[in-house]
């Protein structure tokens, strides 16, 4: 009986250990997601500032399969710009010619990738680092989470770059949708401030 009990305890301990180990391993691989992962479109009131100039419009963000759709609307209605962020980069659907210049398109891609957290699509590139995560790749980024595992900051993590961008995500409600987003640059006086209008 004692022998059986001791075997049984060992088996139970073994399975408990396996379960515990399994949980720990699973937690290690719990990666953060973009707030757009639900596929529900979000509408933000967005203000773009460059030096002393400012312009405001509406920004519609939506995840479409593995891509992210961004539509910028003038407040008078018509669409100003419409593009997709894909794993292969930015693909314009509608845009003024000036936005299609390579240098502008690259900056747009970097900023909006950060804003919609497109880099989190590739889980293989995500590494846990302290209180946050690093996402490796051609344009590496670093993200920080709050106690509720919501992303509160994302920034480019390229050492030799003059185009360093940082996005801050503010939550006033309990859900995972940021109520305010602010994207700014380290060396360029350009920023985007967004307030959630509708989800």
């Amino acid at each position: 009986m004692n022998f059986l009990s001791s075997r049984l305890i060992k088996v139970i301990l073994f399975f408990s250990f396996c379960t515990l180990f399994g949980k720990t391993r699973a937690q290690e691989f719990l990666t953060p997601n973009s707030f757009l992962d639900s596929g529900k479109p979000l509408v933000y009131n967005a203000v773009f500032q460059y030096k002393e100039y400012s312009f405001s419009g509406l920004m519609v963000l939506k995840k479409q399969e593995e891509d992210y759709r961004v539509v910028l609307l003038s407040k008078l209605g018509p669409t100003i710009m419409d593009f997709l962020l894909t794993e292969n980069g930015l693909e314009y659907i509608t845009a003024p010619e000036v936005m299609k210049k390579k240098i502008v398109a690259n900056l747009m891609e970097q900023d909006f990738d950060l804003l919609v957290l497109q880099k989190l699509e590739d889980e293989q590139k995500i590494r846990n680092k302290g209180k946050g995560f690093k996402v490796k790749g051609k344009q590496p980024i670093k993200i920080m989470l709050d106690e509720e595992a919501r992303i509160i900051e994302a920034k480019t993590n390229k050492f030799f770059s003059i185009l360093k961008s940082r996005a801050l995500f503010y939550h006033t409600n309990d859900d995972a949708i940021p109520d305010e987003i602010c994207l700014s640059h380290k060396f360029v006086k350009m920023k985007i401030e967004m307030n959630l209008l509708r989800q």
Binding site: P41, V60, K62, R69, K75, G77
Partner: protein, 209 residues
């Protein structure tokens, strides 16, 4: 109680019917053109509230906003959004002034040909003075209570932003009831005017920030 239910049903059916009014080719285009021209000539000012709905194929519901519109001859127009944000835009033929939650910016219209064309288009649409066949291919239609002018811009600069515009006019007074600005078949902006007041006194201060 059953009378109330029948009444509500009748109202709902009427509302659906009104929204889906059938349009056919206009019978007397010259009468319509004269009515519109007389209306535009006799109107010195317009004050109205408006409801704007932006329909996008990627959204299941329209993005709605509303506010007040002021128009005063010659060519001064103010759109003031009051919900869900405070945003006002003034067009005066020379510059575009924007008041965005208290921050004021202005741009010279003449610096941009496209801006100038869009400015003229908006001002003429509000007045109903859009039937310019040198600038648009126009199809004229009518329903029981409305006239409809379907305008396709000839100018490529405007075509890049707007594929066509539907302007609906009230049959009883030739005033503009609603404007639909199409970017594609599924993506369009619908502006509906309400509480229209014509030739009322509007202070010049209304057009300055």
């Amino acid at each position: 109680m059953y009378k109330l239910v029948i009444g509500l049903l009748l109202i709902s059916v009427s509302a659906v019917y009104a929204q889906n009014e059938e349009f056919a080719a206009m019978q007397n285009i010259e009468t319509f053109k004269k009515g519109i021209s007389d209306m535009a000539k006799s109107t010195t000012s317009i004050k109205a509230s408006f409801k704007q709905e932006k329909y996008l194929s990627i959204l299941s519901e329209a993005v709605a906003s509303s506010g007040e519109m002021y128009f005063k001859k010659p060519g001064r127009l103010k759109w003031a959004y009051t919900s869900p944000y405070n945003y006002a835009i003034v067009l005066n033929g020379e510059e575009i002034k924007i008041n965005d939650e208290g921050k004021v910016n202005s741009f010279a219209i003449n610096n941009s040909k496209v801006f100038k064309q869009i400015n003229d288009l908006i001002i003429k649409s509000v007045q109903g003075d859009v039937l310019q066949e040198d600038e648009f291919d126009i199809v004229f239609k009518e329903s029981k209570s409305l006239y409809l002018a379907q305008l396709t811009p000839i100018n490529n600069n405007i075509k890049d932003y707007i594929t066509h515009i539907d302007v609906y006019f009230e049959k009883n007074d030739f005033s503009v009831k609603k404007i639909k600005l199409f970017e594609s078949e599924d993506d369009y902006t619908l502006i509906t005017f309400q509480k229209k007041q014509f030739n009322v006194s509007i202070s010049d201060n209304e057009f300055s920030f």
